[in-house]
């Protein structure tokens, strides 16, 4: 605490003052809102400095941070801030995200008090997820920053993953603004890959809804970026050994194989390449179900030709070439199942 200059507000005062300002922002008329906006900004900066320190003050003392966090929980200010994020000015939005993430990361020993707090207030998470909605595109990226910070904690990721809201991501990742869609995609991906066991469990439990109903649509999206990103993520999901069960199921469905074979032939080389990494799993499966085997057999010679000429310029990519050679060999050696 500096010894000179303006007397600093205590955490409790700051929180109270910010809360009042936000409320004024929410309800007030034009004139009032302007003043409220100013107050909000000022208080946010003060809180941010309290947490991060500023150029002219010392890094914050633990007890101040503890006190501040406690005030934030008690006042329910975090939710209030997030709900009113679109009303807060440009810099203020960034400050909210900074404050939120800082408080979230706070630890006492092995405990993360803010995580525990948010578990009791899942509304915070759902409000953040709704930040990707079209209504207020200007808060999407700030919300995303906070969401991904939340997704790092298994407890919070679990709440999000198992919520109905999660399936809205299939819409968010396709919004027309590239940076918002991509941001949503990275949150989506984080939720699906961060906590392996949780994710595997989720995917198994929701296989049909996730893959058949929704993911399929992403793979067939009009949007090149969506198609490319979702295909890549699919490859990663299937090749993660935690998702073994999911993979087995996926590669036994002929529809999926057909889709990948079509994607192998797409115009885009990047998509071809990603499709290859999914396709290879179908072929490498030692226990191919009959429908899969039939498709492969029907296309046996075509596939061999195709793969032989597939991305031949990747000569330096040893792994790819090994895999390709392996696939070609496998396909050449394919034999129909003995009639039962």
């Amino acid at each position: 605490m500096p010894l000179f200059g303006k007397s600093q507000k205590t955490p409790a005062e700051l929180v109270r003052s910010l809360k009042e300002a936000i409320n004024a922002l929410e309800t007030g008329g034009d004139r009032k809102a302007e003043k409220a906006q100013e107050d909000v900004s000022k208080n946010l900066v003060s809180i941010k400095n309290m947490l991060y320190g500023s150029s002219d003050s010392e890094p914050p003392a633990d007890y101040v941070v503890a006190q501040l966090s406690q005030e934030l929980y008690n006042s329910n200010l975090l939710l209030l801030l997030i709900q009113n994020l679109h009303r807060i000015d440009f810099e203020g939005k960034k400050h909210v995200a900074l404050i939120f993430n800082n408080v979230l990361r706070r630890q006492i020993g092995t405990r993360s008090p803010t995580v525990e707090y948010i578990c009791t207030k899942p509304e915070i998470l759902f409000t953040l997820m709704a930040g990707y909605e079209d209504a207020h595109p200007e808060i999407a990226l700030n919300s995303g920053t906070m969401l991904r910070e939340c997704a790092r904690y298994e407890a919070l990721a679990k709440i999000m993953l198992h919520s109905e809201e999660f399936f809205k991501f299939f819409r968010y990742v396709e919004v027309s603004t590239f940076d918002i869609a991509s941001d949503a995609f990275s949150t989506f991906k984080e939720l699906l890959t961060r906590h392996k066991l949780l994710c595997a469990e989720f995917l198994e439990a929701n296989y049909d809804r996730f893959f058949t109903q929704h993911y399929q649509r992403l793979l067939n999206s009009e949007n090149y970026v969506t198609r490319r990103q979702s295909l890549k993520l699919l490859g990663e999901l299937l090749l993660d050994r935690h998702n073994f069960t999911v993979m087995t199921r996926y590669i036994s469905e002929p529809e999926n194989l057909k889709l990948m074979m079509n994607m192998l032939k797409e115009k885009s080389r990047n998509i071809q390449f990603e499709a290859f990494h999914v396709f290879k799993v179908f072929v490498a499966n030692p226990n191919k179900p009959k429908p899969i085997l039939d498709i492969l057999l029907r296309n046996q010679s075509k596939l061999v030709d195709f793969l032989t000429n597939f991305h031949t310029d990747r000569s330096e990519d040893e792994q790819f070439n090994d895999e390709k050679a392996y696939l070609i060999k496998q396909i050449k050696e394919l034999k129909p199942l003995p009639e039962a």
């Binding site: 150029s55 440009f90 810099e91 960034k94 595109p137 990226l141 027309s176 603004t177 590239f178 940076d179 991509s182 941001d183 995609f185 990275s186 949007n223 090149y224 970026v225 490319r228 990103q229 890549k232 990663e236 299937l238 090749l239 993660d240 050994r241 885009s268 080389r269 990047n270 990494h277 799993v281 490498a284 499966n285 030692p286 310029d313 990747r314 000569s315 330096e316 990519d317 040893e318 792994q319 790819f320 090994d322 895999e323």
Partner: protein, 811 residues
């Protein structure tokens, strides 16, 4: 079950870092041979890599392989010891990520370049312990380096199966360096090599991990400064929509004003301020191409619903091999800025395989454009800009930097090329990463080499180079100091030197000053103490001693700063005029995503500015399409010492590329009215074969004159010479002929000197050029036989221009 279990494991991100040192060290040890070479042959320092060097970027076994490589057979000492090298420098340079490795113990500095999405490349190494001992290597003897630099006439690269092949041509020999790509060319992939002894490569994404990628504003520096022909009277300022009023008064007289006015006229409709920037391609009308890069093209555009101008950068995502995350990070960096001195991002959306970024259009171009233009058109020997101008610009830059830093961002690439100017005098810092790679042309400011090669670290702070303790925003202050020098002298202090040398000079010498690059004592005496002090403060080797941006803003020097209006007078009025830029850009095919060039080695590549121009003219963009040859001459007469340095090299190395840019002769072939043709023939006094040739083909291919031009007052005549090169490919060579100044003979000689025309053809070239110029009112095209004849197996044919050449007037 196990044998088909996925061979690829998902790695924890940190696993990527498992062996970076090994990876680099092996390569570095390979590079050390270059060092050994340095000892043997000083004259060919750095670049005489006689034979193929396979630089394996893999594990120990590769080091072994290396021992068997041709270089080893040549008897060059091979150091196979693998030392742990530390990544010393990394910074995002346009589409490349620069990496340098500095091993103090060994005294080896290795400079590498990784292009995004690919991992390896490397250039040269430098042994300070050896070179420092050589007197001729001191800063006083740039001539040494000049010679050396001329040694490599061109460096081309090609990407063959992701092996990057640098072909280095020197006067004596041609050398190729093959840099083999590691197996992973998808840096962000989570797939690990499957235990084949292939080392984990350090991905670009990881290199960039510590770096905040910055989005770069694409446009103006990509554009062409106007030719010197742009008269001072045509100082059209076309405002951005926010200041539409100024349009009407000014841009009326110009030939191309129709174009401009339509742009400007739309602006007043922009009453619906609230409407967000739309995400549909149909809502934008693409206009002139104002910048072209390797994977993107930048257009000026009009947003129809808003009636507002903007710049649209179209990035070809299919060529963007890296994961989209990186792109996103950069766009986020851009969108998290909201400051009048930082370039403004509006929106972005996907159009088929392209990403369109909608940005604010700053029409004044980059500061570098203006500097270049000024240096071409005026005597800048004693300084480019006066102190008030410098102070005004730099103060705005500082405000932007202050904002950046308060955001926790470091720009890392502050320099004149990244400072943009709006027509109202607004100064914005551009270039955070995204557009960075678009602006590649600019980034390679001081290099005449191809875009695959490394940019000069002229602006880089010492601690960024070394990175003992990492670096912070003070690195930007250093770059800012260099930029201050650049604004005064026109160039960064060590611009004459190759990148490696710059690193060494920066690390070893005292910090540069205004006079570091001076050719004469007191050359820059016009600049006062306050300015010099400010530079000294910024350029302190110890970062903590440098002032912060906020502190610097209080420096006495910035009391000299004036307002925007002042800049419109001092910078824009004398700058490359908009109408020229638009005019020139309009010649390009709108909608083409870049231009293809055929390189010396024969493959087609996407052009960047650098390829088009080379040398000091790099920023002048497609000017070279129009007049590469004449321009050299003009530059020669007006520029100072270092310029004819670069010019020499430009002449020697680049013309083939720059002039042979595959230009579209857009003029439709229309039959000329018979009387005119007759007239042309009657007046013809020179060799009849040409007359016949012309009658046969020239007439048939006569371009329609677009307007009857007033021939009395002589604006330069734009011409295209179409002929076959030594490989018998048709090329268009564009140039300009200033009537009264240029002589046909002189031009022909230049063409010969530049290696574009066979010496045997000097005479017919001169004769017919002269004829065309004299009769330009009636005659627009002329086809004539060449003395150099045809190659074995070819049949003389004027239609397909075998053994013939054709000169046409293009405007």
């Amino acid at each position: 079950m196990t044998h088909w279990a996925p061979t690829q494991q998902v790695l924890h991100p940190s696993a990527h870092h498992a062996h970076p040192q090994r990876y680099w060290s092996v390569r570095a040890s390979c590079l050390r041979t270059f060092g050994a070479r340095i000892n043997k042959n000083k004259a060919n320092l750095f670049i005489s890599l006689r034979s193929f060097l396979h630089l394996f970027v893999s594990g120990a076994e590769s080091a072994h392989d290396y021992n068997k490589s041709p270089s080893a057979q040549n008897g060059w000492p091979v150091h196979s010891s693998s030392r742990a090298f530390r990544i010393a420098v990394h910074s995002v340079l346009s589409k490349y990520i620069r990496v340098a490795f500095f091993d103090k113990q060994e005294g080896t500095l290795t400079f590498c370049l990784t292009s995004r999405g690919t991992v390896s490349t490397t250039n040269r190494t430098f042994l300070p312990s050896e070179t420092a001992a050589e007197p001729e290597l001191s800063a006083d003897t740039p001539a040494y380096y000049r010679t050396r630099d001329e040694d490599y006439n061109s460096i081309n690269s090609s990407n063959n199966n992701n092996n990057y092949i640098y072909t280095i041509k020197t006067q004596k020999e041609t050398t190729a360096v093959v840099i083999q790509q590691p197996t992973t060319n998808k840096p962000n992939t989570t797939k690990a090599p499957n235990g084949k002894g292939v080392i984990q490569t350090l991905s670009v994404a990881e290199l960039a991990h510590h770096i905040q990628l910055d989005g770069k504003y694409p446009t103006p520096a990509e554009r062409l400064p106007a030719q010197s022909t742009a008269k001072a009277t045509t100082t059209a300022t076309l405002s951005t929509s926010k200041t539409t009023q100024s349009i009407q008064s000014k841009s009326t007289k110009m030939a191309s004003s129709a174009n401009l006015n339509s742009t400007g006229a739309a602006a007043p409709h922009s009453t619906s301020e609230k409407q967000p920037w739309p995400n549909s391609k149909d809502d934008y009308e693409l206009r002139d191409v104002i910048g072209v890069g390797a994977t993107a093209v930048v257009h000026a555009a009009l947003c129809l619903p808003r009636g507002e101008k903007c710049a649209i950068k179209r990035i070809n995502l299919e060529k963007w091999n890296t994961s989209m995350d990186e792109l996103l990070k950069e766009i986020q960096a851009m969108s998290s800025c909201n400051h009048e001195n930082v370039v403004t991002y509006y929106t972005s959306f996907v159009v088929r395989e392209e990403l369109w970024l909608v940005l604010r259009l700053l029409e004044g171009g980059s500061l570098l454009d203006i500097i270049k233009h000024r240096m071409r058109t005026a005597n800048c020997k004693h300084g480019v800009f006066d102190e008030p101008t410098i102070a005004t610009v730099l103060k705005e830059v500082l405000k932007g930097l202050e904002y950046f830093h308060s955001n926790g961002q470091i720009h890392r690439d502050i320099k004149a090329g990244n400072i943009l100017i709006g027509d109202d005098g607004t100064i914005q810092i551009a270039d955070f990463g995204v557009s960075a790679w678009l602006a590649t042309g600019r980034d390679l400011s001081r290099q005449k080499v191809r875009h695959t090669f490394v940019g000069t670290p002229c602006w880089m702070a010492p601690e960024v180079m070394e990175q003992d303790h990492g670096y912070d925003f003070k690195a930007d202050i250093w770059s800012f100091g260099i930029t201050a020098i650049e604004m005064a002298t026109g160039t960064a202090p060590y611009h004459k030197y190759p990148p490696m040398k710059v690193l060494m000079l920066t690390l070893q010498n005292d910090p540069p000053t205004l006079d570091t690059g001076a050719d004469e004592k007191d050359q820059y005496k016009a600049y006062g103490k306050t300015f010099r002090k400010m530079i000294v403060e910024c350029l302190q080797k110890e970062p903590s001693k440098r002032p912060t941006a906020s502190e610097l803003l209080k420096h006495a020097f910035f009391k000299k700063a004036k307002d925007r209006k002042y800049l419109t007078q001092t910078l824009l009025a004398s700058g490359p005029s908009m109408e020229t830029r638009v005019h020139k850009a309009a010649k390009r095919q709108p909608g083409a995503s870049g231009r293809l060039h055929r390189t010396v080695t024969g493959e087609w590549v996407w052009s960047s500015e650098e390829e088009d121009n080379g040398g000091k003219h790099h920023s002048s963009d497609s000017e070279s399409d129009d007049r590469p040859i004449n321009r050299l001459e003009r530059a020669e007469s007006s520029d100072s010492d270092h310029d004819d340095y670069s010019e020499t090299t430009a002449t020697a190395t680049e013309p083939a590329q720059q002039a042979l840019a595959v230009a579209n002769v857009a003029t439709p072939a229309v039959n000329i009215p018979a009387p005119a043709a007759n007239n042309a023939q009657q007046q013809q006094q020179q060799p009849t074969d040409a007359a016949i040739a012309q009658a046969m083909t020239g007439v048939a291919q006569m371009p329609m004159p677009s307007a009857v031009t007033d021939v009395g007052e002589a604006p330069p005549v734009n011409l295209v010479l179409r002929m076959r090169n030594q490989r018998r490919e048709l090329h268009d060579i564009r140039f300009e002929f200033a009537v009264g100044k240029d002589s046909a003979e002189g031009i022909a000689m230049e063409l010969v000197d530049a290696g574009l025309v066979d010496a045997l053809d000097t005479q017919p070239m001169a004769v017919h050029l002269q004829q065309l110029i004299e009769q330009r009112a009636a005659l627009k095209t002329i086809t004539f036989q060449l003395n150099s004849g045809v190659q074995p197996g070819e049949v003389l044919d004027d239609r397909s221009l075998v053994g013939y050449a054709q000169i046409s007037i293009t405007d």
